[in-house]
Symmetry: C2
Subunit: 406 residues, 2 copies
């Protein structure tokens, strides 16, 4: 008998039929002898519907009141699932954030969980009830409703699993696991049976949108095994844990890509430490986040900086830099929104030299020029022109032998 | 400066436009120097939408979970109204039942308010914020969500008004007050500027569906002046209080009618005390409620009982009595669903004799036969054939001079 937390996303509870399918799935797990805690998102489309109501009133609605509005979405799902399980003759109870004291900070719209009081939850499990908890939400120290931001239900599930020392936290979604790359780009992509937290963090932040990155971080911090599975075709999925796959001859586990990056180049600023500081401070004033960053010293006393920002912030970033070109003492500001970041990720890199060689040879063989490079212990990323996306992903997937993952 | 609780029903917050109109109305009241607490229902149609989701899962959904589901309706309204007020530059905060500790018993779907902790509410008012509270909901002693039943938002408003010693509780609805009778039946019906709690209780229970009867009871118990006004055309409306109108020369304030009553007659049962007890116990076993009741002793040792039940329970009541006719020692069971109850209500009756005379003369002049009669201190009710409804209402409205209310 295991204690399992199961999280279902919006698509998995998107209609009455799907909620009933989830009820059946949860009951099967219970009948196999497990204790089951369920964490739910809002029905798909519901959060958007609510946001659109708010936007009709105010383009920038009060953050506190937006959270009051949005938390109703999960409340609807948990009540309906509880009804469906009870209808099938099993004992179930739905619980809101305040009923198990999910305490967060007071950052409305992007709150972080600080504490969960598991007493009530443990009582319900002792009474042998299937316990269904509203994800995505919490209460601050003054009792105000908060939300954890989009995708926050993954985080709720992990934090709840950690608080009750669950054996596993299972994230049900509309894909059946984590793949070596996007199967829409490379049909030979393989599902990984296992991946480490570190790898998953790099894969998630790079665009493998299976799991919310904060949830993976939280799972890693609590050492809580995470499993990604499909609601519609449940099998073993992909397990994410600290353990490295037993037979690991791969240096690279997967190839990720991120489309919504844009490139900015600030040409020929004075080669003094304050130059970069000035650029970053300026962008920070406008809340523009920077991802990749690199520099080329190409003539005496002058330096070029290249950096990437999220595409949604690219027009503003370009404006800000252009307006302040004189102050930055830059010769020119250049930009390119038609770029994509491609990354190879794998814990195997740590112990294998030559990974970078294989990486750049594969790109070179296709005549793909890297515009920017960034590396970490378990990741190599390059920025390339967007038209090379599919070609580069397939070349790298092949070069690292990922179509043959067991 | 007064402390006012304003309650808006589903139609008043039925769309974004209407929510914005309510925001303007509330702000105007604030600008006149009042402290304002707002209590809201769910947007019209929302509660029905949620109930229909639940019914798709289970015809008789878990009562606890149905309350978890339904309370989301008011949560949506309060968040949207708070946003609209904040957008207009005023300070507002929405609060759920648990945030001002609206404590109820644990009768899911029809809970009663036991206690309200007004500390938080008073704090918000001291900070000069317009405070917007979700009606219809509470929490039981274990923190479970409860609802007060359909129309319960009126009750929430009255109980909150009483808890904070408000000067007045204003119920905004889609009619502009309480009328001397239904204007659809008698176009000469007049709006009353004032009516007493006792009169309103009789009028409400008899079908003047402006206010929920439990809310009127609660207002009377707390001596909280209630005012009914129109959201769409706000003027002074009708004030309901203990004070009798100053210049009251009327014995009767209004004529009410109730269509969904049905008549049952149990003929010639033994004239012993246990006969009626037997009939009532039998109907109670099937949860059938009785409204009017009367008896005619028309031959030695035998008695006829006539009683009315709600039309929705009439077929079952008729079946139950017919099946048990032998046991009741009744000669026959007769029934008539084509009847209507018409009542004249007025505190003036207490001090005026002759009211009944005027009442029955008016009916006699139209040749309308009463099938059943029932009276109280401030009310005379008759059951008549349904086809006489309009004629009887107009005859009584005229006989008591109600078209001339100031």
């Amino acid at each position: 008998m295991a204690l399992i937390v199961k999280k279902f996303g919006g698509t998995s509870v998107g209609s009455i039929e799907r909620i009933e399918a989830v009820a059946d799935l949860v009951i099967r797990s219970k009948q196999q002898g497990h204790q089951v805690v369920v964490v739910l998102s809002a029905m798909s489309g519901e959060t958007n519907r609510l946001v659109s109501l708010a936007k009709q009133i105010d383009d920038r609605p009060s953050a506190r009141e937006l959270d009051v509005l949005l938390t109703t979405g999960e409340q609807v799902s948990i009540a309906l699932l509880a009804m469906a399980i009870i209808k099938r003759g099993h004992s179930a109870v739905s619980l809101l954030a305040d009923q198990i004291a999910i305490r967060t900070d007071n950052m409305f719209g992007k709150a972080r969980i600080e504490h969960i009081d598991v007493e009530r939850l443990k009582q319900e499990l002792e009474h042998n009830r299937i316990t269904i908890i509203a994800g995505f939400q919490g209460r601050d120290s003054e009792g105000n409703l908060t939300t954890l931001g989009r995708g926050g239900t993954d985080t709720s599930a992990v934090e709840i699993a950690a608080a009750i020392s669950a054996d596993e936290c299972q994230i049900y979604t509309d894909v059946d696991g984590v793949y070596t790359t996007d199967p829409r780009v490379e049909p030979r992509a393989q599902r990984m049976s296992q991946v480490t937290f570190e790898e998953m963090l790099e894969l998630a932040s790079l665009g493998a949108k299976v799991l919310q990155i904060r949830a993976v971080e939280a799972a890693g911090r609590h050492n809580m095994p995470l499993r990604v599975l499909s609601t519609f075709n449940p099998d073993s999925g992909t397990l994410i844990s600290y353990e490295e796959p037993e037979v690991t001859c791969k240096t690279v586990s997967g190839i990720a890509y991120q489309k919504d990056e844009s490139l900015l180049i600030i040409r020929q600023v004075p080669e003094i430490p304050s130059s970069l500081a000035k650029i970053l401070t300026l962008l920070a004033e406008y809340d523009i986040e920077i991802d990749m960053i690199s520099q080329i010293n190409h003539q005496a006393g002058k330096i070029d900086y290249a950096l990437t920002v999220h595409s949604s912030e690219y027009p503003q970033a370009f404006d800000v830099l252009t307006t302040n070109r004189d102050d930055l003492q830059a010769a020119s500001i250049e930009g390119n929104a038609e770029v994509v970041k491609i990354s190879a990720v794998g814990v195997g890199m740590k112990s294998h030299s030559g990974t970078a060689g294989v990486f750049f040879q594969a790109l070179a063989a296709e005549n793909i020029q890297a515009l920017l490079v960034s590396t970490s212990e378990i990741k190599i990323s390059v920025l390339v022109e967007e038209r090379y996306l599919e070609l580069a992903v397939r070349a790298l997937h092949g070069a690292f032998g990922l179509e043959n993952v067991e």
